[in-house]
């Protein structure tokens, strides 16, 4: 059976060290944004997908790196991480769906649509990860009693 520890003091929280999850996540977000701008700038023509695919892969690698860093973090407030994560995920899935709708409505098809969809998936996972990690890192950690 586990019990909750008392709220750690502020000093302890500020001294905890965390991996650069948010920073790497922002880099992934920037790559997706650049890829999105590249595709959008060709509308209504069919964009070449080489550069967006490179940006997508690089963004995906950074997102995976962020997830691995989060998973290896031991003293994160996981309850808050998942609480914030699921609601922001819902919000950003809706947001990404809206963007996808606009592109589909405006005749984006085939490979560009696939690349764009994958970019939006990355976007919808990355932003909630950044937000939930930023919230959780400043929250008190629930610890099991010895």
């Amino acid at each position: 059976m586990s019990v909750l520890s008392p709220e750690p003091v502020a000093e302890e929280k500020s001294q905890r060290r965390f991996p650069p999850v948010a920073e790497v996540g922002i880099a992934a977000l920037a790559l997706v944004v650049i890829g999105g701008i590249y595709i959008a700038s060709y509308a209504p023509r069919r964009p070449p997908v080489g550069i967006p695919i490179v940006l997508l892969i690089a963004g995906g690698v950074l997102l995976v790196a962020s997830v691995v860093m989060v998973a290896r973090t031991s003293d994160l407030a996981w309850d808050k991480f998942f609480l914030v994560g699921r609601w922001t995920l819902l919000a950003y899935v809706i947001s990404a769906g809206l963007i996808e709708f606009v592109f589909v409505r405006n005749h984006t098809r085939g490979e560009p649509l696939l690349v764009l969809t994958l970019m939006l998936v990355l976007f919808a996972l990355d932003v909630p990860l950044i937000i939930s990690f930023t919230v959780a890192r400043y929250q008190s950690v629930r610890r099991d009693a010895d």
Partner: protein, 205 residues
């Protein structure tokens, strides 16, 4: 989205010290969700049916408010807040920031979704259009603002709200997070001014 940039509380300050009873903080104001849903529904209908007035409404109203709120909060409200007492700042932030959690993403969605479709409909995105280059620049401007807003400001905004919900918020944590708003205010302000120039330019070519 520079909605809350200047409500910083100095490091080390205890928010609750000497303060009047703090308002209960609801991070996402649930009462506002139906209004957001109505605007998003209107946006989807406008895009789906290619409703010219609806697209124009969403783009002009959403974009105008987005830019105006960003600049007004950053240049007018922010400096005033910076001179208020810490309890006053904390109380204002507790009431102000949750509303911005709903307002700003809604305005951004309205502006961008309708703007892209309008640009296609009007022909501004065609390479032969004199506005094509201006639109690409506006995409870059929006891209910079989106990266700052989604990657830096919104996480800080929500983390501050979580901190302020605590019985004894930590001023160090709030101060550290709020510094992000100050650091990015200049970039966002510059981008919004650029948006005003680009959009008025496009409308008159």
């Amino acid at each position: 989205m520079t909605d809350t940039r200047a409500v910083a509380i100095p490091a080390g300050a205890e928010v609750s010290t000497g303060a009047p009873p703090r308002p209960v903080i609801q991070i996402v104001p649930l009462k506002g969700l139906p209004i957001v849903a109505a605007f998003v529904g209107f946006l989807i209908a406008s895009v789906g049916f290619n409703w010219k007035w609806g697209l124009d409404f969403n783009h002009v109203v959403g974009g105008g408010l987005w830019t105006a709120i960003d600049l007004f909060v950053g240049l007018v409200v922010g400096p005033i807040l910076g001179r208020l007492s810490i309890p006053a700042r904390a109380e204002f932030s507790a009431r102000f920031m949750p509303k911005m959690v709903l307002i700003m993403p809604t305005l951004v969605a309205m502006t961008l979704a309708s703007g892209f479709q309008l640009a296609l409909d009007v022909g501004n995105l065609k390479p032969s259009s004199p506005n094509h280059a201006w639109l690409i620049v506006s995409f870059v401007v929006v891209g910079v603002m989106a990266t700052i807003a989604l990657g830096i400001l919104e996480p800080a905004n929500i983390a501050v709200l979580f901190e302020m919900k605590k019985p004894q918020p930590n001023g160090d944590v709030i101060g550290k997070l709020m510094k992000r708003f100050i650091y990015t205010a200049g970039i966002t302000g510059l981008m919004q001014v650029a948006t005003l120039i680009i959009m008025t330019r496009i409308a008159t070519q």
